[in-house]
């Protein structure tokens, strides 16, 4: 190849690559524009309007009033409180049990069997899990049967404003702990055995080893698990919808933010208001995600 023809070759190649680059991206860009960026901008726009889908002509600009009103809306505040409680109940318990299970099965025979067994609740549909839990926690259900010998009176868990949310916390921990256990197992795999050997020579055993070697080395994994779990709990919807029949009851005790968005947007058709709620949720999740990136970024540097 002469140098002139080589140059033409590379130039042609550059044009061809650019064309193909856009061609390969075209489906993804179309989806991005039509079903993500466009809708997000539109949602942001209507969050400043009193907007009903049934009557779009009469949309009325209300400025920041939707956002201000949110923080005076007892239902939204209750929903925010509920998901906060739910997070506080679920995240630490789930993280602790996931770590405990990972440590438990890491070195024993049948590790892959236990990993599969513990993971099955995680791949099951939340709708199926919700129905199973209502069945187990009903007044004459298995849980009440098992607790009776210990003198615990029969409780109608999901019909009680006091117990419905805690029962859902138990369900969330049970159904997602397997996922986080698998992440912890991967983290444990990454710890070089020499570190344990060195610590053992220094006389570290059992609990000391765990507290001073294993847990600090798993910090990154723990952080990932906590943030993922936090984001998931703030977005909870399926189980609240299925178990309360879409109401968030009894007495709003299981009303989540997403369920409130769903009901305001599609039952009372206050779509501008629902969009404002969604952006507040977005802001909360964004803060959580940014904290995650900041801390994980610093750790990897």
């Amino acid at each position: 190849m002469s140098s002139a023809s080589a140059r033409t070759y590379w130039r042609r190649n550059a044009v061809e690559q650019a064309l193909h680059g856009y061609l390969f991206l075209l489906p993804a860009l179309t989806e991005l524009a039509v079903f993500l960026i466009g809708p997000i901008l539109y949602a942001f726009y209507i969050s400043f309007f009193r907007f009903s889908f049934l009557d779009p002509q009469n949309a009325q600009f209300v400025g920041l009033r939707n956002y201000v009103h949110l923080f005076q809306d007892p239902e939204f505040l209750r929903a925010l409180w509920n998901v906060t409680l739910y997070s506080i109940g679920v995240v630490p318990t789930q993280t602790a049990i996931a770590l405990w299970l990972a440590l438990l099965v890491h070195h024993i025979r049948g590790k892959s069997f236990f990993r599969v067994a513990y993971y099955i609740p995680t791949i099951t549909s939340t709708v199926a899990v919700s129905v199973i839990f209502v069945f187990l926690f009903q007044p004459d259900g298995l849980v009440n049967h098992l607790l009776r010998p210990f003198g615990v009176p029969a409780i109608n868990y999901f019909n009680s404003p006091m117990f419905a949310l805690p029962a859902m916390m138990v369900m969330a921990v049970w159904s997602t702990v397997g996922q986080f256990m698998v992440i912890y197992l991967a983290g444990l795999q990454d710890i070089p055995p020499e570190i344990y050997e060195a610590a053992a020579i220094d006389g570290a055993r059992g609990w000391t080893m765990l507290r001073h070697i294993t847990i600090p080395l798993l910090r990154r994994t723990t952080f990932l698990v906590v943030v993922m779990s936090l984001i998931g709990t703030f977005q909870v919807f399926d189980q609240m919808y299925v178990i309360s029949g879409g109401t968030g009851g009894p007495l709003d005790s299981t009303l989540s933010v997403v369920l409130d968005i769903f009901n305001k947007g599609f039952k009372s058709m206050q779509m501008g208001y629902a969009s404002a709620m969604a952006f507040v949720l977005f802001a909360i999740i964004l803060v959580l995600t940014l904290i995650q990136h900041a801390v994980l970024g610093r750790e990897t540097d």
């Binding site: 991206l25 993804a28 809708p39 549909s125």
Partner: protein, 275 residues
């Protein structure tokens, strides 16, 4: 000697506790299967002799209720969404990893940034858009908006960055077109990527509830989770039939998981994601 003995003892205890937790993890499913096999006349008895158990609830929900239709809807929707995602995300990830074109960096950051936005923000505007197109309660409404995942594009890009470039460069100099390079050189090497994407997209869509409960309004268009929710709402005294529905929804995805569990677990471990 002493320490070796305590070590063995510790392992035995760990193994015993692990077995106990297996009962906690799988017991509720066993109890659900048992309930789904109880005849209606004995559904309120906690214990029913094994000889009385019957598959009748399964045939009853499939014949007298549209569970068969819901199952087909779920399979169809999950299939279309999975195949669509495979094509869209893999092509995009490959372009970002391997092809040079103007604005590549900026476009990639746009996809990354979009990943942070929770799907709930999209509920209202997508509903309005689809209603405007007459797509509520249609298969295209349940599938077309969900054919792309920024996260999977990110994952595909990382994957293609990790495989050696030499073969592609050689093929390029030999005059193979960019399509040819993608299909004949890159794609055959990306089976682990395709497997991970397939599993997570399929599982996520199979279990998806929020979108189909919003977008499928007539019972004929329900997917299985929506159908089960509505059936449970009306017939929650018939726990045997409800549990048959639960198992019908759960069994396919558990089978898929058991077949592909190695890829599943590797995918979770490396990406930290749930489908």
């Amino acid at each position: 000697m002493e320490s070796a003995r305590t070590h063995v003892g510790w392992r035995r205890t760990a193994w015993f506790i692990a077995c106990l937790y297996t009962i906690i993890a799988l017991g509720p499913f066993a109890w659900s299967i048992y309930t789904s096999l109880k005849p209606t006349s004995e559904v309120f008895h906690s214990w029913v002799p094994l000889s009385h158990l019957t598959l009748q609830n399964y045939s009853s929900i499939l014949q007298n209720f549209p569970f068969g239709r819901w199952l087909l809807n779920s399979i169809l929707v999950a299939f279309i969404v999975t195949v669509g995602n495979l094509i869209v995300n893999t092509l995009a990830g490959y372009a970002f990893a391997r092809l040079r074109f103007p604005l590549r960096g900026i476009l990639f950051y746009v996809f990354l940034a979009i990943m942070m936005i929770p799907g709930q923000v999209l509920l209202v505007p997508i509903y309005i858009l689809l209603a405007h197109w007459g797509w509520i309660d249609t298969y295209q409404g349940l599938t077309v908006p969900f054919l792309m995942s920024p996260f999977m594009i990110f994952l595909s890009r990382q994957f293609f960055l990790g495989i050696p470039k030499d073969l592609e460069e050689a093929a390029r100099i030999d005059g193979l077109s960019e399509w040819g390079i993608f299909f004949r050189i890159a794609l055959p090497l990306s089976r682990p990527l395709l497997a991970a994407q397939t599993i997570f997209t399929f599982q996520g869509n199979w279990n998806s509830f929020l979108w189909p409960v919003l977008l499928a309004t007539s019972p004929d268009m329900y997917t299985l989770p929506v159908g089960l929710n509505s059936f449970y709402g009306q017939y929650n005294a018939y726990w045997n039939s409800v549990m048959a529905g639960v198992i019908l929804l759960t069994l396919p995805i558990v089978l898929v998981f058991l077949i592909f569990q190695r890829q599943f677990v590797q995918g979770i471990a490396t990406t930290g994601l749930k489908g």
